[in-house]
Amino acid sequence: MTASWSFALLVLGPLMAAALAFVFPRRGRGVALAAAGITAGAWVGLVREVMAGGVQIQRVGGWSAPLGIDLRADGLAVLMLMVTGLISGAVTLYSGRYFRDAHDLESAHRERYFWPLFLFLWAALNALFLSADIFNLYVTLELLGFAAVALVALAGNREALKSAMRYLFVSLAASLFYLLGVALVYGQCATVDLTLLAAKAQPGPTLWVALALMTGGLLAKAALFPLHFWLPPAHANAPAPVSALLSALVVKGAFYILLRLWFEAFHSLNTPAVAQVFGGLGAAAILWGSANALFQPRLKLLVAYSTVAQLGYLFLLFPLAAARDGGFLAWSGGLIFLAAHACAKTAMFLTAGNILHAAGHDRIKDLGGITHVPPISTFAFGLAGLSLIGLPPSSGFAGKWLLLSASLVQGQWWWVVVMLVGSLLAAAYVMRVLTRAFTRVPDATAPHPIPPVMEWTALAMAVLAVGFGLVARWPAELLRVGVPWP
């Protein structure tokens, strides 16, 4: 009973809030705060049920699969919901001030539309993480994509509009690839339920093609190298809290579905060769993204390319988690890494927003003398950087450690090399920014003061990115609930 309400409120709370924020444009922030409260409560209820009673299933409308839609909450889903909630909460606090303080005349307009779009994004994410139905996942993907694109375009400048347009094309085409895959799956198995598919799916040409289509679409949405081309401009040109949401959560949505497909519904098709391909692409993403981040002229572009790189780590989960031996190590490692990256990236983009606000630009080479004035923001960036590099005891470290251990256990040493090189590259680009904080510039211009709530929210996320590593045992335990293999 409690779980039912949790399911309902987690999805409908933000959804109705989005509608209300649209009807009452001046009340957006209050509505979002209320939604944050409701979802937090619902999440607590849900996590208690999951810890106590294992995987929770809600048969929507009282019809069970295959005819109806099942919602399902296992450890993975609950973890993703938690990350979503934390980051959305931070973004809510941050944005309450961010949009009000923008320098241009359009800011009031932006604030009005930010809230409903943001709440839609939130609802879409929650719905996505709870869904156990691949067609329903398609609908949530579309909700997510539309909200993300509209939020990018909200920045309103030329570059933002162009990147939003490109993002929309990629997103829509990717959704259609996914949907075509769903059609083939339905034609073959006569169900779109993840659990039923796990029992019904047998390797064969149709499912191979279907899965390839769905995977292709999702990889584009998850911006895995070489399909990442749309991400850096989109994430770099969006308003700061939006960039945070996109990098921390939106790309993870697609990744989450990939996990559900390859490790649950179609686990019988998950062969080592495929897994190695995923891992290879992930490795390429790590190297390519990091190398590009090193040469970006703008802070937000750097952070965006860092996202391309860090997403690569998530895909190392495929070759590592598929094996029985040490599989769970990699599984929990990859997902803890996901949470770590989400928090760290949020902190980084929010900080970038602060710096942009203070300096009026984010050209890295001209940031000397500006960053040491807002020390809290710099501190936040540094802490987030620690997690990104994977220095202990941050959560990034916890994730990388588990992935490292898994590769060592399985003797797949090549991933170890990639991860270590990736860490060093991450250190290089993070330090490229942090060094500016210590540069003494004699005639530094007085920066625009940053509202405290914006600084402290960024810092809180950074602290979370580090501190989460100290309690990483808890998510690892949580992930055991409903883990796709015995």
């Binding site: 009973m1 039912s4 309400w5 399911f7 309902a8 409908l12 959804l15 109705m16 989005a18 509608a19 209300l20 649209f22 009807v23 444009p25 809600q58 048969r59 929507v60 409308g61 009282g62 019809w63 295959p66 005819l67 109806g68 839609i69 919602l71 307009h109 932006r110 009005r112 539309y113 409903p116 779009l117 839609f120 609802a123 719905a127 067609f135 329903n136 609908v139 949530t140 579309e142 909700l143 539309f146 909200a147 694109v149 509209a150 375009a153 909200l154 075509l180 083939l184 339905y186 034609g187 073959q188 006569a190 169900t191 064969g204 040409p205 149709t206 191979w208 093609v209 279907a210 390839a212």
Partner: protein, 325 residues
């Protein structure tokens, strides 16, 4: 006789499919963009025929109204707007002639590459679909078995608003999101031509609009037992709204911002509230109390109809109707 009918329908299938493919190709690759758009609209109509052929009258209705009609109107009006802006704009950026940009941009080599990729895609898909067994009832049996419990007799409506109502709830959310996204982008412009100078059209609209509203209501009602429902009705309503907008008949309505916004969100709010209410009453999200399915569905659909009609109609403006204060 049966053989001949089968033969004829076979020929019909081939003609239909070839026409569809030819139109699809031409509509996207015709060097005159306007002609392309027209062919695109025609493609939508042909597809509606194909849907009928595939025993999907509900979809055919929606395709004709939404897929072909509204989408076509949207694209046409966007084309007109773009061309007007181009005419106003500086001719220096001459590369952007809307009507003839076919050869610009993509090099021949990448064309060949993409072509090869698409062919590979087609081959893979063809390989996949040829492995399907000729017959599979999918979920037809299950849905028909559960149909009496759903509260309606049209199986598609039962799926949309009962068995898989949750999808539909989110989909109504997508609709609202689309309009919010569009409004966030820009202020809409009225269509360039003032139709008030065309009395004949005006009188037609005066006649037509009330009938369209009635028809929308009728589709909503009939959806419970026959092809139709909130989407098809909503599409009609949207059509009526677009015509009204074109004729400048909805100006005063558009200025009532709060009312508009309420109308747009009505579907989501009522649907979600119904879901929660059902949860409270029966303990299951969107699980309607036994025997009351029909009534619940009707209420939800009515709210959805209004929102769908408003949303799809207002999408036509390409932006929010008025600048807020």
């Amino acid at each position: 006789m049966d053989r001949e009918i089968a033969m004829m329908s076979h020929v019909f299938d081939w003609i239909l499919v070839l026409l569809v493919l030819a139109l699809a190709w031409r509509s996207l690759n015709d060097c005159d963009l306007f002609r392309g758009v027209i062919q695109f609209i025609a493609l939508g109509l042909l597809l509606a025929v194909a849907w009928l052929r595939l025993r999907a009258p509900d979809v055919a209705l929606a395709e004709a109204a939404v897929g072909s009609g509204l989408t076509g109107a949207l694209i046409l009006s966007a084309l007109v707007r773009m061309r007007q802006r181009e005419r106003r704009g500086v001719p220096a950026s001459a590369s952007s002639d809307t009507s003839r940009t076919l050869q610009s941009g993509t090099s021949n080599r990448s064309r060949v590459l993409i072509g090869a990729l698409s062919l590979a895609l087609l081959t893979a898909l063809g390989w996949a679909v040829f492995r399907f067994s000729a017959q599979s009832s999918g979920l037809a049996v299950e849905s028909l078995a559960k149909l009496p419990e759903s509260g309606v007799t049209n199986p598609v409506t039962a799926v949309l608003l009962n068995f898989r109502a949750y999808d539909t709830l989110l989909e109504i959310g997508v609709l609202l999101l689309a309009i919010v996204g569009v409004w966030a982008l820009r202020r809409g412009e009225r269509p360039g031509d003032d139709l008030r100078e065309r009395p004949l059209l005006m009188s037609l609209l005066r006649l037509l609009l009330p009938v369209l509203v009635l028809a929308a209501g009728y589709l909503l009602w009939i959806g419970a037992s026959a092809p139709g429902g909130a989407f098809q009705g909503g599409a009609l309503l949207a059509g009526a709204l677009v015509l009204g907008l074109l004729a400048g008949l909805a100006g005063r309505f558009l200025r009532r911002e709060r009312l508009l916004r309420t109308g747009l969100t009505l579907g989501v709010l009522v649907f979600a509230a119904a879901g929660l209410l059902a949860l409270w009453r029966t303990g299951g999200l969107l699980q309607y109390p036994a025997g009351q399915g029909g009534a619940w569905i009707l209420v939800i659909e009515a709210a959805a109809l209004i929102s769908i009609g408003l949303t799809l109609g207002l999408l036509y403006l390409g932006g929010r109707p008025e600048e807020e204060k």
